[in-house]
Every structure is written in C-alpha cells, then in structure tokens.
Symmetry: D2
Subunit: 255 residues, 4 copies
Amino acid sequence: MLKIGDKTFQSRLMLGTGKYPSFEIQKEAVEASGAEILTFAVRRMNIYEPSQPNFLEMLDLSKYTLLPNTAGAKTAEEAVRIAKLAKASGLCDMIKVEVIGDDKTLLPDPIETLKASEMLLEEGFIVLPYTSDDVVLAKKLEELGVHAIMPGASPIGSGQGIVNPLNLSFIIEQANIPVIVDAGIGSPADCALAMEMGADGILLNTAVSGAKDPVKMAKAMKLAIEAGRLGYEAGRIPKKRYAQASSPTEGMLTT
Amino acid sequence: MLKIGDKTFQSRLMLGTGKYPSFEIQKEAVEASGAEILTFAVRRMNIYEPSQPNFLEMLDLSKYTLLPNTAGAKTAEEAVRIAKLAKASGLCDMIKVEVIGDDKTLLPDPIETLKASEMLLEEGFIVLPYTSDDVVLAKKLEELGVHAIMPGASPIGSGQGIVNPLNLSFIIEQANIPVIVDAGIGSPADCALAMEMGADGILLNTAVSGAKDPVKMAKAMKLAIEAGRLGYEAGRIPKKRYAQASSPTEGMLTT
Amino acid sequence: MLKIGDKTFQSRLMLGTGKYPSFEIQKEAVEASGAEILTFAVRRMNIYEPSQPNFLEMLDLSKYTLLPNTAGAKTAEEAVRIAKLAKASGLCDMIKVEVIGDDKTLLPDPIETLKASEMLLEEGFIVLPYTSDDVVLAKKLEELGVHAIMPGASPIGSGQGIVNPLNLSFIIEQANIPVIVDAGIGSPADCALAMEMGADGILLNTAVSGAKDPVKMAKAMKLAIEAGRLGYEAGRIPKKRYAQASSPTEGMLTT
Amino acid sequence: MLKIGDKTFQSRLMLGTGKYPSFEIQKEAVEASGAEILTFAVRRMNIYEPSQPNFLEMLDLSKYTLLPNTAGAKTAEEAVRIAKLAKASGLCDMIKVEVIGDDKTLLPDPIETLKASEMLLEEGFIVLPYTSDDVVLAKKLEELGVHAIMPGASPIGSGQGIVNPLNLSFIIEQANIPVIVDAGIGSPADCALAMEMGADGILLNTAVSGAKDPVKMAKAMKLAIEAGRLGYEAGRIPKKRYAQASSPTEGMLTT
C-alpha cells in the first residue's frame, strides 16, 4: 500500500490525463491502469466550472484522488498561485509542484521547487514536488516536510527510462517518505526496474497516452508495476560475473 | 499464445525445476508462475523410475509439458544420447539441446549445438537449442528446422540480464520460429524488456529458485512477462532526446 | 586551449594532489600528466607557511596554477571562509567551490553551492563550482557569473565514470563557459568519452593517485584527454543500427 | 609490442583503406594513425597489376604490412579462393578471414569462418579470423591455431562501439593469442575502452574514413589506443558504489 499524507492507495501508479486520442480512450486507459490517483495541469481547468474539469468529462471523479500539478510555473510564486487556484476549486488538497527551469528539457528548477514546496507546506498543502535526481536536493525537500518526492527518470515525455539508476537508488535509500518516479518512463520494463529498485510508485502520462494502444499499455504498466514491486519484495538474486549451473551437479544420471 | 511444434501454450514462461529450497516451495513457485512447461536436466532423472522424476515429486505432471535438457553434454553425441534417454522414459518428446563449451561461463558450443540439433531433428524430436546470441548461428539453426531458438541473455545463473540487446533484437527480427530467451535473466524488469523487444517467451530457473522468496518471485516474473508482452503489442512511444510536455499547451488557464 | 577567467592553458587536465603513495610519485605523476592546474584542499595547507604547502613539497609551484578547493565545507559560509584563507596565502586567486551535502556520496549541496558561488563572485574570486549534473542548476550558476562549471561524473573517487551522459550533454550544450568534468572518472576511456561529448576539461585525482602505477596512469589520462578532444573536433560517425560495408562494393575483383 | 605470427609491431592499430574522401586524405590519415598494418578487400585489387593496388596509390607500401581480407566471401571455399589470389600477388602472407553470414548486419558466419580458418592454416597462411563475440567459437579458433582472433565490437561501420563488453572480456581472458577488436568502433573512447579491457589491438576503417576530418580522427584513435593500453598496464581503480574522499581527512586546517 502506498501512503501519502493521511491517504492510502492500493495502486502504485499515478496516471496523467493529458494527450489521449479521445475521452473514451482516456477513460478506458484510466480504468485499465488501476490508478487511484489522476494528475492534470491546473491551467487546463476551467476555473469557473471546476467541479468537473471538462477534459476529464467521462470519468467518475468520485472514484479517484485528483493530483493537480503546477505545470506552466517558472517561479515559486507562480506555482503557489496555481496551487491556490486548484485548492479553491475544492477538487483536491494535494499538489504536485512543477516548476520548470528549461524549455527544451523541461527539467525542474531546484531552487524554485524548494521555495515553492516550503511556501505550500506553510499553506497546509499535501506537497509532492517533481524534482531532478539531485540527491542532496531530495534530502532537503524531505527535511522541509514534503509528503513524497518525485524524481524524474529522464525528461518529460522522452521515453528514455531511468538514465541515472545510481542517483535514483541513492534517493530511495535515504528517503523516509514515498519516492514516486515521475517523467521519462517509456515502457513496462522501465516501470519494473524502478519498482525493483525500491521506488514506492510511478507517475505516467505520455508512455500510456502516446502508445499505439493506450488502453493495452495502461494494463501493461499496471502489471509491470505490480511485477516490479513483487520482485523488490521477493529479493532478487545477486549479479555474478560467471555462470552458476541451475541443475544440481550431484545426483548425476547413472548410465 | 506460444506455439512450439504442434502444441500451444497460454503462458510464455518456461520454468526450470532445479535448486529450490524444498519440494513444497518448488511446487508453489511452479503454480505461482503459471508456467505450463517445466524444464529439468535429464541427468537428474532416475531412468529406472522415470514415470515420476523424484525431484518433481510434489507436482502433478499431467498438468505440465516437460522439457528435458541435455545439460552435462559437451559434444553433440552426448547430447543425442541424453535426449534419447529422455524420450525412452516416455515423459516427453521435446528436448532442449544444451551443449556447453566452457566450464566457467557455461556458454554453449555453437558447432556441437548445431550438430546435435541436426541429429535430433533427424530422429524426430521437437528441438529447442540453447544458443549464444550469435545472429548467424541462430539463422542456421532455424534453417535446419529447429522448433524454437533459445538465445542466452547472459551466462546461466548470472542474473546479469540481457547483456547484448542488439543481437537479441536481430535474432528476433529475423526469426520465423519462437525465440525463447534463456539463461541470465535476473529480475522482472529483465523479463519485461525481453518481451517488449518481441521475444516469444522466457525460460527461468535461478532467478526464481534463488530469490529470497521464490514463490513471490515466480508471481512477479509471471506478471512481468505478461506486462512486457502487452507492452510489445501496445506499441511503446519512441525515445526522444528532449522533453515533450504531457499537458496540451493550448487552452491555458486564463487568470 | 582552455580559457578560465583571463588565463589560458594548453592542457585540459586538472590534477588533484591527494593520496599519492609518495611525494616522488606525486611529482612524477604531475609531470607525466602535463597538467598546468593543480588542485588541493585548503584545509591541508599550513596557513603559517603557505608559500610552499608541505604536501606539494617536491613540486616547483612556479610552473603551475593552483586551484584550491573548499573541501570540508558544509555551508556556503564555511566555503567562503576557507576560500578567503586560501586567497590570504597569496598562492591563488581561483577557487573550486565544494560544499558537500551528504557524507556517504559526497554529492554537492545545490543550494549552498549556489550561495557560496554568489558570495565568492562578489568577493572577486575566479569561481569554479563543483556541482551535481542538475541541468538547471548549472544554468543558474552560469547566470550568476561563475568562470567554469564542474559537474560530477559520479561520486568522488568512485571510479564509476559518467553515470548520466544525457545530463552532462545538456549541460555542455547550454554552457557558454568551460565545462570541466569533475569527480567519478575512473579510466582513460571515461576521459575520452567526456571530451568527445564536448567537455572543455577534466579534473582527476583518485583515478590517477589510486592506480597501481600512478605515473603511467597520469600519462594515459593525458593521452586520452587529447584523443577525446581531437575526436570531438574531428566529428565522429553517426551510430547506425545496421552495418555499413567499409569496402566499396563497386569495382569488384574480376576473376 | 603487438606480435602476430613471427612479426612484431609497435602500433596496435590496424587501419582499413576503404571509403576515404580522396587518396591524399587516405595517405595523411594512414600516416597520422601510426598504423603499420593496412587492411583492404582483396576483391578491390587489380590482379593483373597487384604490385601496387591502385586504391593505395599514394602510399609507400614498403613501409606497411598489408593485411588483405576476404570480404565478399559467403562460404569457406570462396574465402580460401580469395585468400589464394591475394597470396599469389606476392603482396602479403597474412589474411583476415571474413565470411559474412547476413547482408543486413554483415555479421560473420561462425561455421564457415571456422572452416575457412582451418583450410587456410593448412595452406600455410597467417590467419586472423573476423568473428562474432561468441566465446566458445573464439576458443575453437584458437585451438585450431589461428594467429590472432578478431571479434567484432558491433556491426561493421555501425559506430555502436562495444555492445557486449562481457563477452569481449571473456574472449580476452581465455585467449593466449592476440585479440584484435574489429568492426563497430565509433570513437576514441571505444578504442580506449577496448584496450583497457586488455585487447591487444584494434582494427578501424569507417570510424576514421567516415569522420568529418579523417586525418584528425586518425590521430585521435592513435592516442586513444595508446591511452587505453597504458591504462590497462597502469591498473585502474576499482569501481565503488559510494564516494571516497580524494583529500586526506587527517591534518585538517587548524583555524
């Protein structure tokens, strides 16, 4: 079970809601994924009719926890302003802090992310910052009191998977709060790997919505996350340079 | 569905039966894995009582297809002799050809493997050779008429996963027969990756039997193989160097 | 030529002076490396006799530019205090900012590094911060006015090489100041790779001083850095999935 | 020094002669590379005027050892025929056996390569077979008596570098004859890595002739091979998961 703030979730997958071919496919993919937490950019909301965001129109929102993000923010102040708009809508009390520092890579701004997280914690939000895989920054965010840490695997939507497994493993090792791998995941194997390393969850969007068959990919990701988590719990064999026979060598066939 | 010779299987996982902590755990792991094909070394059989090999004593063998291997053979002739013993037992008509050419790496002997495969095909066996990831050798084995090709991911029991994804992808690309990744798989992520690349199945032993919790790992591997296969069918996103925003950039929040 | 502040250097290798088996080997390794810039921790200086630090006793310091670092600092204030001690010694006007945020990984503290860099720039130092490979942080440091940026390849002394080539390439791509790869380099191939990617220089210590033969390794690193730089300038061939015959196929032998 | 058959060479680089932009650049690149062994496809020779192959027209062939290859051969018999033509020309007594088994990947045919090598050894050639990185095949070739083994790093001309460092390291570990890495090298870092692993030499063509500046790249490769060899001899530091401070921690600055 994944626990964030005072909420618990059976599913370890958070699913983004952007860029699906249609609302029907969005709905089916969400259902196939088993996700209980859905993310979306606050800036896509119609703030005058926030009770059911129109880009989620076919979803029964009572069944999901909504996790809005501050995409579009380039400073802490912008992120805070966006987060407050989301809270005012009454839809959610969790916020994914996303303060982008570079347009080409969409990598996060460490300084503004830290600042925004601090401000939003003071305002009483449940704060989940999207961050680079800077190990010390992750520690500082935890010390600040954020409720989960969301290091990127690689640039948003790039599908490159985990480009720096070492740093991700350091972040997981030091964390006492959930680590949700966010951004860059491309395939089920990437999900399984992150979970085997001990991640607590994964946030996906493009890897599902951009697949040729988003619904089938949603199902694949669900299974991969479960597989990776089980693999983590089951304790994998160590890697060895040379071979180890799988058949006992005693008890040879007597012919 | 996996089709080998004239048999079809729902599961794409073949499970080895060696080195489990106990028969109880072996049985539970086999069941958790969903495997329909079980492998074992012929040399472990008691040829005077072959109807129920004693190292499979708790399994209801009527529920499984048995795939014996010729482990221990260092020449084609030895492999053929071992295969014939297996066939004489009446337990099976499929044989995994395993002719080892090096004691430290347990890597297969390409020449003897090709020769053994040819001889066993002439004898009417359903032949599945364990081979290196030599691309041209894989093609030659297919031309010979083998029923599936089993390239190793890395040395047997090493848990290193797929050390040469390029060659494996070439083998899959050229093959018109099932490609079963055999040897070296260490974790669910390795399984998912092999399946995403288009492998038709995976043979596991040490990665399951040597895990801290073999039964849980068997379940993890089952899910990972399903996830990887679904991911292959669903069509993953391409990898890109730079980021792609997952939220539409039009329709910005007007504040 | 490498240009930092208003100084230019023929060599693109900066060599650390710690942990050599003896002063003789230190001296020989420094000479074999061709390095013109030597680094050392200010805290190792005897501040009452700074004109010739005793751990550099066999070196003719008039031939080198000294680059002291603030190793030992955990806050910006400590780093500034250490830097001022170094400057007071009269040995140097460049400072490598090193503010460690984690004892196990010795990874840098992004916030304190930025702060220390800002303070030292105001004091008129030539500032070269050691930083993680956080892309946006590297940009912020450049905007601050630092004279070179020194992203780590992997943890100090780990010998793991470049664990995140993607981020390093982003940092190089965006930089208008020299990028010196610092920390984690293990071998000549690591040096060549960093330079091929377009790095302007490399700082080494453990990879040389900890080699079985530090003098020979110093020579190897020198050549590798030159090789990598030439390779960068020469423009490598693109990577292709399939083969490209190296012999022209026209003009076949007529037999 | 590299020793093949009864000849010794100072340079560990063998350079291919195909696909240079011009004869002038070919000549300059050869000289910059320091190569003492030049390779070319026999099928490019004019057998009626073999004393100075026209595609090597500007080179003083008395200064080089020529290593013709059997490119174009698809069977052992074809390779033998081509090798005999080369020998009849009087230009050379060494032959690189190249029997291709697949048009798309240009990967070698293990069976025909083994057969051709055996036949050519019987004819008294100095035999250097181009082979895949199949570990057991490499051993068989050595047992046959070949004078060096030439495993491919990746497909010819692909520039992918060493796709399977594990197998290459196994081949090097078991070999008592020179191991020359052939095919697929893309950059100086690839050369340095192969040499650090203990390879005895490297054969290059496309990586030099196809570079934007072939002459500069030839120089880069020369240095990288020397760097890698020195690095191998110097004994690199082990890789560690965590950091190791490069400055001694005792003798702290007393302030």
